[in-house]
């Protein structure tokens, strides 16, 4: 149990996927303009991430390792993620058309969200067992959603401020992310290893 809590806290706060591993930067910059779409995106990513780690763990450990097919790792993982995203997309389209509208192009782009492929690769590299892998996937997604929401909040405020012209849009967002990353570094004392 203690290990699971440590995995959770360190993945959400200390080694946050966006701010310290730079994974999932494209949706982070693209969807963080409004809180509502940031929330939807965060939830979609959390869902896909948790499922993707669970399924990839099973496939990797039960099929690829047993038959010595580990060189197919990347190809198999990306296929798992692509089909999961397809399912989530159909699901959201049916149950929440307004959310589907606001997520727009970013939904299919979850396939190329490096955070998701990244988390499956980290999971393999760190030799997690099944429960640990699922917790790792869940906390990775929640960490992503947290940073996305914070960023969206800041950007909604920033829309009213007077920013030098050349810094508008992407540059100021990147610089804000840099300051956020500095702040999140403060969490690194939370767990002494």
């Amino acid at each position: 149990m203690k290990e699971l809590i440590i995995i959770f806290i360190s993945t959400v706060l200390i080694n946050n996927f966006v701010l310290s591993y730079f994974l999932g930067i494209c949706p982070f910059l693209g969807v963080s303009g409004r809180i509502e779409s940031a929330f939807g995106m965060g939830m979609a990513v959390t869902f896909v991430m948790t499922l993707a780690t669970a399924i990839s763990w099973l496939i990797y450990n039960l099929i690829l390792l047993r038959f010595g097919l580990f060189f197919l790792e990347y190809v198999v993982f990306i296929l798992v993620i692509a089909s999961l995203v397809q399912i989530v997309e159909m699901f959201i389209k049916k149950f929440s058309p307004s959310l589907y509208q606001s997520l727009g192009i970013y939904l299919p782009l979850i396939t190329t969200n490096c955070a998701i492929l990244g988390i499956t690769l980290f999971m393999v590299a760190r030799n997690y067992n099944f429960i640990e892998a699922v917790v790792f996937g869940l906390s990775g997604g929640l960490g992503f959603a947290l940073v996305l929401l914070v960023m969206a909040g800041i950007r909604e405020e920033m829309a009213y401020s007077d920013i030098p012209r050349v810094f508008r849009g992407a540059p100021i967002t990147l610089i804000t992310a840099g300051i956020l990353a500095l702040i999140f570094m403060g969490f690194s004392g939370l767990i002494s290893s």
Binding site: S20, F22, C26, Y74, N113, G118, L121, L174, G178
Partner: protein, 201 residues
Amino acid sequence: MKTFIKGLWSEHPTLRQLLGMCPTLAVTTSAINGLSMGLAVIFVLVFSSVVVSLIKNLIPHQVRIAVYTVIIATFVTIVDFFFKAYYPGISKALGPYVPLIIVNCIILGRCEAFASKNTVGKSFLDALGMGLGFTWALFLLGSIREIFGAGTILAGTSLMIKIMPQDYNNLVVMILPAGAFLVLGFMVAAMNRIEEVRKSR
């Protein structure tokens, strides 16, 4: 010719279109890491674009993204094994970011937006231009971070030069994740400024 040039500047993948951000930020702790990542991306981008444009008429429209991803993943596996075999040091430094080239949006973006609609030759030039554009941005970002963060440039090769004076206090923040965001933010702003001046002329 225009197909080749546009990737280097006017449609620069990272600085103008903001694609492929993850490797741009993650591996640029030093100039040499940035450069090797750039070269790996050029290889994958060029080969995937050529293959996609060769078989573009054979791929059913609905499954095209899946087919592109599998093609890209194949070339990335080749690059990964190549690094592991011949440059284990670089492979270690780049870590999981080599397999993550698969989901680099530049590559999928060029396959979808360009290679699937153009001839093999044009796709080749487009991919080469975009790849080189990506590489110079990574090299520059890596150099800036290395110069301010460690006081050297090209550390890890025989060309290493100590740039900063001996009593220079390393700005550690440049090597940390925060530094990557800050420097890239200023680079994009500088790019915007240059384009503004160029247009007003």
